[in-house]
Amino acid sequence: MKSITVRYFALFRENAGVSEESLQLDVETALDVFEQTRDRHGSNEPLGHCKVAVNDEMADWSTKVADGDSVLLFPPVAGG
């Protein structure tokens, strides 16, 4: 188990009801975090529409996460 700070944005934050929480998760990658928090962020978006950052760097879903990392889950963006 790793201690992961998960941050939710926009729609994901509204679904989760919190913007940030510390969770004990059995995860290897950013994708694992997304899937194991699905009941929190509530997303049924195709993964390719969402983005992820690890420790404030844009990341891939295959990016490894370590104990103490923060994982930022971004719903589909809509700038401009």
Binding site: E14, E45, M58, P76, A78, G79, G80
Partner: protein, 149 residues
């Protein structure tokens, strides 16, 4: 320079900052809050950004434009918070020696800004309900056919 702004964008001041005696062409794109989207009447918009990464990714987009089209001056400012109809949500300005680079770089920047930066848009409709805009679809379509604004 890329910036996120909680206050309304001073487009005259943005323009003044672009002044450059080596530039012969200046192209601006502004995204405005419009009164309708996909058939629904919009009263106002709300933009949320994750500023640290939006700025980092925005600067990256501007650097890419400068690499593709040398001798550019390029700036982008993106609003956050509540916006009313007609408000400027995003301002992109490019000054270049000639018009072709100015147009192409400006288009490149706004196309990338729309799909890469952690920025989200919530539409508030007449009647009181609201919705986060899923712009993954409109951005993809927009690059090819011009849907999305």
């Amino acid at each position: 320079m890329f910036a996120i702004s909680e206050d309304s964008i001073d487009t005259s001041e943005c323009r003044r900052m672009m002044s450059d005696h080596a530039a012969g062409g200046f192209c601006v794109f502004e995204g405005w809050v419009r009164n309708v989207n996909e058939g629904r009447t919009v009263d106002r918009l709300e933009y949320e950004a994750y500023e640290p990464l939006a700025v980092k990714e925005g600067e990256k987009v501007l650097a890419e434009a400068r690499q593709r089209f040398p001798h550019l001056k390029a700036t982008c400012v993106h609003r956050t918070g509540l916006l009313d109809l007609g408000d400027c949500a995003v301002w992109v300005g490019v000054a270049a020696p000639h018009r072709d680079e100015a147009f192409r770089a400006c288009r490149y920047i706004i196309d990338e800004i729309k799909i890469r930066l952690p920025i989200w848009k919530k539409e508030h409709y007449t009647g009181g309900d609201s919705d986060w805009v899923n712009c993954e679809r409109c951005a993809t379509v927009g690059r090819h056919t011009g849907a999305g604004n």
